[in-house]
Symmetry: C2
Subunit: 155 residues, 2 copies
């Protein structure tokens, strides 16, 4: 399904409440985010770091002036793969009211094209093992679930 | 097992051949690296990017003046987790001649302490599903295999 009137662009500071609302609006996210007015300052300081680093691109999908999707695209220099640049995608969300319309797929295709433009040889991401619909979604886009993603909490 | 005479330090340009030798010296690495003399220039340009970016730390373990281990520690600003900083570990290797002596564990503990110092709330990594001994190694260090790691090759 094509969504011809969707614009993908870099996020601005004023987009943060919309982004955090989407991050908080699911089972895992609701346990770890704080979607409040005003937002906790820690979100704004993270945004500044991302916005000032050319290897980080926080992206939003906008439709009719409204932010309805987001992802964070990172470019990671690496010695491995003959010094090949990796792209990594984190924090992918589509507003629940707009899910099932192909917006996530278009957003990921946009990110993959962007990664190619910047010379990455690979796009990598992890999704929680419980997000089985996400696994199928990424497999349809060509991703292979070849790895185990491991986390150590420091809190 | 403690290895009291092991030094962990930032890699220098002259360490690159030792690092690439270790990356190339296993089943998966041998298919994708080019350990040659001189090394392909792409390794050096990746090293320069890593070395110039304060969010990237390429680490080596040195014993008696010899490089016997490496890992790449990255710090990733993120909007999620209330704007929490993530640490990510890539390209972990211990020279085959020195495996089984606890060096990998000490190197990972060093990296975890470093991540805490820099304020990360999480250390994350992915390992290939076929590396079952690596999964057990990271589980012993407290990592949980909660995620599926997915990759899309752009080549």
């Amino acid at each position: 399904m094509m969504q011809p009137n969707i614009l993908f662009r870099f996020a601005k500071r004023v987009d943060l409440p919309s982004i955090v609302r989407m991050l908080a609006d699911d089972e895992l996210g609701s346990q770890r985010e704080r979607y409040e007015t005003p937002l906790p300052e820690s979100y704004y300081s993270a945004f500044e770091q991302i916005d000032n680093d050319p290897n980080h691109e926080l992206i939003v999908a906008e439709q009719n002036g409204e932010v309805i999707g987001t992802l964070h695209l990172m470019f990671l220099p690496s010695v491995s793969f003959q010094g090949g640049l990796r792209a990594q995608v984190e924090s992918v969300r589509v507003d629940k009211r707009f899910q099932g319309q192909g917006i996530g797929g278009e957003m990921m295709n946009w990110a993959t094209e962007r990664a190619k433009q910047r010379g990455a040889h690979l796009v990598q991401l992890t999704t929680h093992k419980t997000r089985e619909d996400a696994h199928r979604f990424y497999e349809r886009l060509g991703f292979k679930g070849s790895h185990l993603g491991m986390k150590l909490s420091l809190k």
